[in-house]
């Protein structure tokens, strides 16, 4: 199994850390992983993206043109990466702030209202874990317990009391993800 994922959004949305937790989860189940971020000044307040690959085999290129899954968290990233999803692949996005919804009909599109849900749960920092839950519902490539182990590895120890809340966020994301049909938008 090889899963090639791009996660893209604003710096501060937890894009890179979500990728890191996913990569750690892969390690927990003995997979090969790579995590390749965009880096440099463009990240400060601008867009951030990370390519995450989980595979049972040695990973060749950590940098890709097309992806099995694109997780898209802002409009710029939608503009940039909608076309990068392989036919039959998955596009998961957060609709808050998206004016131009995806148009492709050859891929499976899902929405997760992570902004609203994390606000309701009282902590905006778990935004990315709601998205993570939505992704894992669509593609259960890593076990929940491995995600929790991955969280423990990537979170500094002083934040470990937040792990139950993160777990709750993942569950919320799993429950709340909805399919989206490109035809629904008349534009």
């Amino acid at each position: 199994m090889t899963e090639e994922i791009i996660i893209a959004g604003f710096g501060g949305q937890g894009v890179l850390s979500m990728g890191k937790i996913l990569a750690y989860s892969g390690i927990m189940q003995d997979q090969e992983v790579s995590w390749m971020p965009s880096y440099g000044p463009e990240m400060r307040g601008g867009t951030a993206n990370v390519t995450v690959i989980l595979s049972d085999d040695r990973i060749s290129s950590p940098y890709l043109k097309v992806f099995d899954t694109a997780i898209i968290l802002n409009q710029q990233s939608m503009d940039k990466f909608e076309e990068s999803v392989k036919p039959g692949g998955i596009l998961l996005y957060e609709p808050n702030g998206i004016s131009h919804h995806p148009k492709r009909t050859d891929i499976n599109i899902y929405q997760i209202e992570a902004n609203k849900l994390s606000t309701e749960m009282g902590n905006k920092k778990i935004f990315n874990m709601v998205v993570m839950g939505a992704f894992l519902k669509i593609k259960p490539i890593v076990e929940l317990e491995n995600v929790i182990e991955g969280l423990k590895k990537s979170l500094p120890e002083r934040y470990h009391d937040l792990i139950p809340l993160n777990k709750e966020a993942i569950t919320k994301g799993m429950e709340s993800v909805t399919p989206y049909m490109a035809e629904q938008v008349a534009n």
């Binding site: 992983v33 880096y39 000044p41 060749s60 290129s61 940098y63």
Partner: protein
């Protein structure tokens, strides 16, 4: 005990340096390799092993600190990125001339000038064709994974001390910044001063004892005959490196009709291009030089009998391609493909280039 971790290439290199029992690191921050010194400063290696870590006032000072510690037989290293390496070249030439074991790491970014902070492989010429002044070469290791960023630290020091010569680890922003699973070796004990004197006291400036002549470290020989003898000694080392320590890796070359030659991050991308090509029925293969000097000339010369075309894939405007052409001696067409300016070519682009140049 060895340990499995998810780390950036730069961090893995820094952690491996502590674990390899390195005595000192001297550096100066520059993107995209600042994680090396940041990691070392955070880890307090002076408490873990007694390793010295110092942020120098410049790259120039840092490389000369390397020269100082190396002249006393200690295991010492520095790291930087392209513009910083340009500044270090004077010192690197002195390290080569004075025959000092040392490790220099270049996490390459795009140039010339201030260029870009994004990944590049445009320092190939600088690395393998001398770079600094005078008749010298560097043993150049090109890691293509986070694991190799860690493993090559120890390999580099083994070579550095085997030959009493500076060794360059030529990485780039992609390998430095990405995270992968890395298996870290167990902690080695750093040598004591007595052990350093026992191992290197025959040449290093560790303090003149009564039982030996004074040791002098210099790259200066005002007598031409002596200087020529020094240059010949260096050339002999490089010949021995070619015979004993050249490294490369082949990927699906057995039946290959077309060959990619790529190192470091480009080798990873070209490997994927091989997979994409094979899925389309094109028999492609990959030769990855692991050492850029010594270069796998003979391997390429032999592969040239088997393939119809060779594409040198590099994140630059065409540098290593010259060595590929020299190696195959016009037996087969050799072309270059590569993006510059910090743009990373995709596996699809690489395959397309192969098709355009040789097949269509």
């Amino acid at each position: 005990m060895s340990e499995l971790k998810l780390m950036k290439g730069n961090e893995a290199l820094a952690e491996a340096a502590i674990r390899a029992g390195v005595d000192a690191y001297f550096g100066y921050p520059i993107t995209p390799q600042s994680e090396v010194i940041e990691y070392l400063m955070t880890e307090r290696p002076e408490e873990r092993t007694g390793m010295v870590v110092l942020q120098a006032e410049s790259e120039v000072a840092a490389i000369n600190m390397v020269y100082g510690a190396a002249s006393t037989g200690k295991k010492v290293m520095t790291s930087s990125s392209s513009p910083g390496i340009s500044l270090k070249l004077e010192g690197i030439s002195y390290l080569a001339g004075a025959e000092l074991p040392s490790v220099i790491v270049n996490v390459v970014r795009g140039g010339p000038g201030l260029g870009t902070i994004q990944p590049s492989q445009a320092d190939y010429f600088q690395s393998v064709k001398g770079g600094g002044h005078g008749d010298y070469k560097l043993y150049v290791l090109a890691p293509s994974s986070v694991q190799e960023m860690a493993d090559f630290v120890e390999d580099a020091f083994d070579i550095a001390f085997k030959y009493r010569a500076p060794v360059l680890i030529l990485s780039d922003g992609l390998i430095g910044q990405m995270m992968e699973k890395v298996n870290l070796k167990e902690q080695q004990v750093r040598l004591t001063d007595e052990e350093v004197i026992k191992l290197n006291g025959d040449w290093a400036t560790t303090g003149k004892t009564k039982n030996r002549e004074r040791n002098i470290i210099t790259s200066l020989d005002l007598q031409s005959e002596k200087m020529e003898a020094r240059v010949r000694r260096l050339m002999k080392k490089y010949e021995q490196m070619e015979q004993e320590d050249m490294r490369y890796e082949e990927f699906q070359t057995e039946d290959a009709e077309y060959l990619f030659v790529a190192y470091g991050s480009s080798a990873r991308i070209a490997q994927k291009a091989v997979q994409l090509a094979r899925a389309k029925g094109i028999k492609a293969g990959l030769l990855r030089p692991i050492t850029l000097f010594p270069y796998p000339k003979k391997v390429l010369f032999d592969l040239a009998d088997q393939v119809k075309g060779i594409l040198s894939v590099e994140l630059n405007a065409g540098q290593m391609v010259e060595d590929v052409r020299l190696s195959v001696e016009h037996k087969v067409p050799v072309e270059h493909f590569g993006r510059t300016g910090g743009i990373i070519h995709t596996p699809e682009e690489v395959l397309e280039a192969l098709e355009q140049k040789f097949i269509k």
